[in-house]
């Protein structure tokens, strides 16, 4: 029974729960807590599925004299589990190395093409009319890249807001948060895969960086920067999923600290529930039971 229930919980946490949660608007009120929630869901799904595999393997050999085919199946299930884990870490390592190599090359090019900014050492200005603004994260050696077009489009305070937003990304290592969800997305088998955690956390880190920028430059400067850069005309190939800008502006417009705190509380509560309940209700009794059978 335990393997079956754990598997069911794992499946639920992998597909329907993220789909439901991705549609909820209230999680946008507390981006930091929402990221914790998405991470907890992912961890809980992995734990439940691994637990289901492990429990199945052990159940197969739980009798006094398990038949040979049961022992073989036991080994196969365990082997499959090890394989899945190995594949995950292997692909995580590779994709991380690729990301670092790509960033290094990009940073080198930006250093050669971009002009340093007098006041902020990490800033590089590209001589381009197309407005761009982004950061290249690296501990101790990051770059904040903007173009001439960005500087001409934005006023001083809005440019400050943009730079502070990017600095917040770098400081809080938002790239690691996104990288983690990218690994997960690749690691899950296609049928169990949803892009909700990755998409949602992309929005959440923007909201967090926005909060940092607002604290420094105020609401209006940041809002003007978002509208100016999201509404700028760029080559058609650069059109992206833009609904993010609307979500970000909406968060600036609606000031409701009490509601935000409630949303954060709800996120943390659900995180605790998905992590603790399956463990307490299923895994621990099952482990005790297995222990008593062994001794």
């Amino acid at each position: 029974m335990t393997p079956f229930l754990l598997g069911l919980i794992g499946l639920a946490l992998a597909l329907p729960v993220p789909a439901l949660l991705a549609r909820a608007r209230w999680t946008l009120r507390s981006p930091g807590a929402a990221i914790v929630l998405w991470q907890s869901l992912a961890l809980a799904a992995i734990l439940a599925m691994s637990g289901a595999g492990l429990a199945t393997a052990l159940w197969l050999v739980s009798g006094d004299h398990p038949s040979e085919w049961k022992v073989a199946l036991h080994a196969a299930v365990l082997g499959f589990g090890v394989l899945v884990w190995a594949r995950f870490w292997w692909s995580a390592w590779h994709s991380w190395r690729d990301t670092l190599a790509g960033r290094d090359r990009h940073r080198r090019l930006v250093d050669l093409l971009g002009e340093p900014h007098g006041l902020a050492p990490a800033v590089r200005i590209l001589a381009e009319e197309t407005p761009v603004a982004y950061c290249i994260p690296k501990r101790g050696d990051n770059r904040l890249v903007v173009s001439r077009g960005t500087i001409e489009t934005l006023g001083d305070s809005s440019l400050d807001a943009v730079l502070e937003h990017e600095r917040a990304h770098v400081r809080a290592r938002h790239d690691l948060v996104l990288e983690g969800f990218t690994f997960l997305h690749r690691a899950f088998p296609r049928v169990l895969r949803t892009d909700a955690p990755l998409r949602q956390s992309q929005v959440m880190v923007e909201l967090l960086a926005d909060d940092a920028a607002r604290r420094r430059t105020g609401d209006a400067a940041l809002a003007r920067a978002i509208v100016a850069l999201a509404g700028s005309s760029t080559p058609a190939g650069a059109l992206g999923a833009g609904s993010e800008a609307a979500v970000r502006l909406e968060r600036i417009r609606r000031r409701d600290p009490r509601g935000d705190r409630l949303a954060a509380l709800a996120c943390y509560l659900i995180s605790a529930v998905v992590l603790v309940v399956p463990t307490v209700l299923l895994a621990i009794p099952w482990m005790l039971h297995a222990w008593s059978e062994l001794t």
Partner: protein, 122 residues
């Protein structure tokens, strides 16, 4: 004395502006900085070579240096990565904002007007 990054940028610009591969001496002359030692220029060229930005070719007993890619190619590679809207590079670069279509831009401006009004009254 400019810092090393600054020097690399100047040297790269010299190579980008040159029609042909340049010797160390020619790079040094083009930089037009009398205080800059020959060995310093050579070091910078070697560093750029280590970064895959410069190729060197043998010319008699010395080397001549050439930019591995043109300035335009380098610029377009950077812009391409910077403007890439696909989700694949999301964690490599963190963008400030993606562009939206005109109707959505109008909606954004309406919300902005509200935010600015609230800011003024506060």
């Amino acid at each position: 004395m400019p810092n090393l990054g600054e020097l690399e940028r100047s040297v790269m610009n010299v190579l980008w502006d040159a029609a042909d591969p340049l010797s160390v001496r020619e790079v040094q002359d083009a930089l037009g900085d009398r205080d800059l030692a020959y060995t310093t220029v050579m070091t910078v060229l070697d560093r750029l070579g280590g970064k895959d930005m410069v190729d060197r070719e043998r010319d008699g007993r010395a080397f001549r240096y050439v930019a591995r890619m043109t300035r335009d190619a380098a610029t377009s590679e950077v812009l391409h990565a910077a403007l890439d809207a696909s989700g694949d590079r999301t964690s490599a670069l963190l963008h400030f904002a993606r562009t939206v279509d005109p109707s959505e831009a109008a909606a954004l401006r309406a919300v902005l007007a509200e935010i600015e009004a609230a800011d003024d009254s506060a």
